[in-house]
């Protein structure tokens, strides 16, 4: 087999070869865009990595200075805040998204389904700044009441160990993110749920299941899609910037209490980027934050893929 045969798919027909070659540039361009983005992020974060090493990810300091020798940056609080708020978001979004998907498929009368779908799509299309403003003026005061009440009665639980003065906190950011990612997760789950073969629905009702029991069994059969939906939701939650930076309080804080203010990588980048050019290393530290986001996203996606692959192997692998 020649090199050409090995590199190109086996296109024996001349027309297929032409088609392949004409379309080749598109995936190549897309791949190069992604590669160049990564390259820039890596290149820009090199100065801080050379100076501080991995400490830039594992320490929690933010000390800009006119004297480059005294500058020091550590992203730990932002990385922690990103992961913490996204996990809260997924925990909030999971039950909502599953219920929404099932409700649209099973409960909404067919005539109204179109209208409900438009509403959900609208929820996804709403600019994130709108969520942010709503979160700041409505959700944060509400969360303040909720978190403080929880603190009063269940203060011995670490999550509720601190009251909040403003409502701007991990908890509020997580809940807001959770609400924002519901339509994305719900769309994936709904797609999978509607693809369940009719004969499986008939089977579950034929053994005397009630509606609720049937839904539970059928949801079990699309478990990998639910995981995929939540991975997608988590990715979106981690990347979200404007809305979060409005409600999280922007403080370099590491705390398990939901009432504490914190920050995330995205909102840190957004809030510091303008001033970063005045300092020698701040810009590079912010790019290192981008790198960290990329790596966390990669890790979450990999875990999701591994879970789905294991499930598939269990279902269809050798007996």
């Amino acid at each position: 087999m020649g090199l050409r045969e090995r590199l190109l798919p086996r296109l024996r027909s001349r027309d297929d070869r032409v088609f392949f070659l004409v379309h080749l540039p598109v995936p190549v361009i897309v791949f190069m865009l992604l590669a160049s983005m990564l390259a820039v992020i890596l290149y820009m974060s090199l100065p801080i990595l050379e100076r501080e090493g991995l400490r830039v990810f594992t320490s929690n300091v933010w000390r800009p200075s006119d004297d480059p020798a005294r500058e020091e940056y550590g992203l730990l609080a932002a990385i922690y805040g990103t992961v913490y708020t996204s996990v809260i978001a997924v925990l909030v979004a999971a039950p909502l998204a599953v219920s929404l998907a099932v409700a649209i498929e099973e409960l909404v009368p067919r005539r109204l389904r179109g209208a409900v779908e438009v509403l959900v799509d609208l929820m996804a299309a709403t600019p994130t700044i709108v969520y942010g403003v709503w979160g700041l003026t409505y959700l944060a005061p509400l969360m303040k009441t909720v978190l403080n009440t929880l603190h009063e009665h269940l203060g011995w639980i670490p999550f509720f160990s601190k009251p909040t003065l403003t409502g701007l906190s991990y908890g509020t950011a997580g809940v807001l993110l959770g609400i924002m990612v519901v339509p994305y997760a719900a769309a994936v789950i709904r797609e999978a749920y509607s693809m369940i073969p009719w004969h499986l629905r008939e089977a579950v009702y034929s053994v005397g299941a009630t509606r609720l029991e049937a839904i539970r069994v059928l949801l079990g059969s699309v478990r990998p899609s639910i995981v995929a939906a939540l991975v997608l939701a988590m990715g979106r939650a981690m990347g979200e910037t404007v809305a979060v930076s409005l409600v999280i309080g922007n403080s370099l804080n590491i705390d398990v209490a939901l009432g504490s203010p914190g920050t995330t990588v995205s909102s840190l980048i957004a809030s510091k980027f303008k001033a970063a050019a005045y300092y020698e290393y701040m810009m590079s530290a912010l790019f290192a934050g981008g790198l960290a986001l990329f790596l966390i996203g990669l890790a979450v996606n990999t875990l999701g893929i591994l879970y789905i692959r294991r499930w598939e192997e269990e279902m269809h692998g050798a007996a």
Binding site: E202, A203, S221
Partner: protein, 253 residues
């Protein structure tokens, strides 16, 4: 005297306004195989789904007429469809165990949902009983907790039968249970039908007159929603009264 477990009287079904089962009446005696045969599109499967109220889950279905299960009209207002489905087992054309559940859980799902057993041991025994009845126990007893998706087509269909039997139904409905199986698996299912009818009446939908002739005691011929003829299988096949039946058996329609 052998009583009739299931009696159908003047049954009509409309799907999306289309009249697909037209004023059908027949009786199914206990411990017999009752075949519903007819060309595809003749309403056999729809008729079958009216007998366990599975048509209730079709948004556009309307049923009129009476279906008496041991004397109770399953369409009378006080009757819960779940009560009906628990007593009328069903096996489908597509072997459809729940792929994500284990072999054990597939059989146990009916008894669990309907709270039929009190202890794990009782459930174990019921699962084993149903798998034995479905001729599957010996093949799966060492891997009961494997997902059902890994079984062969024929095994899946026998697992579906075990799932239906675990409810200890009074009637078993089978909708072309061998349509997606190879000849060897088909033969096994037919043997199983002959064995099962010693305890429970079976209503078998088939598009194959040969299958009806092989396994059924009574055969009904359904043509475009109308019941053309019904009677003992031997008589239907040797001296059909209606010329339409004769033409069908000779493969002329």
């Amino acid at each position: 005297m052998p009583s009739e477990v299931l009696v159908v009287e003047g049954l009509n079904v409309w799907l999306s306004g289309k009249h697909v089962v037209k004023n059908v009446s027949f009786k199914v005696p206990d411990r017999t195989v009752f075949a519903l045969m007819g060309p595809s599109g003749s309403g056999k499967s729809t008729l079958l789904r009216a007998l366990n109220r599975l048509l209730d889950i079709y948004e556009e279905a309307e049923v009129r007429g009476r279906v008496l299960l041991e004397g109770v009209d399953i369409y009378s207002p006080g009757v819960d469809p779940i009560w009906v489905r628990r007593r009328v087992g069903m096996v489908f054309q597509h072997p459809n165990p729940f792929p994500h559940l284990s072999i054990y859980d597939n059989v146990a799902i009916g008894p669990r949902l309907n709270r039929m057993v009190k202890s794990k041991r009782e459930l174990d025994e019921l699962v084993r009983w149903a798998l034995e009845k479905a001729y599957l126990w010996d093949e799966v007893k060492d891997r009961l907790h494997m997902p059902a998706a890994k079984l062969s087509g024929g095994q899946k269909q026998r697992l579906s039968i075990a799932r239906a039997l675990a409810l200890k139904p009074r009637v078993l409905l089978m909708d072309e249970p061998t349509a997606n199986l190879d000849p060897v698996a088909t033969e096994k299912i037919e043997e199983l039908i002959a064995e099962l009818k010693r305890e429970i009446p079976i209503i078998l939908v088939t598009h194959s007159p040969e299958q009806a002739a092989r396994v059924a005691d009574y055969t009904a011929f359904l043509y475009y929603g109308e019941l053309v003829e019904v009677g003992p299988t031997g008589k239907i096949f040797t001296q059909p009264e209606n010329p339409l039946t004769e033409r069908y058996l000779l493969r002329r329609i």
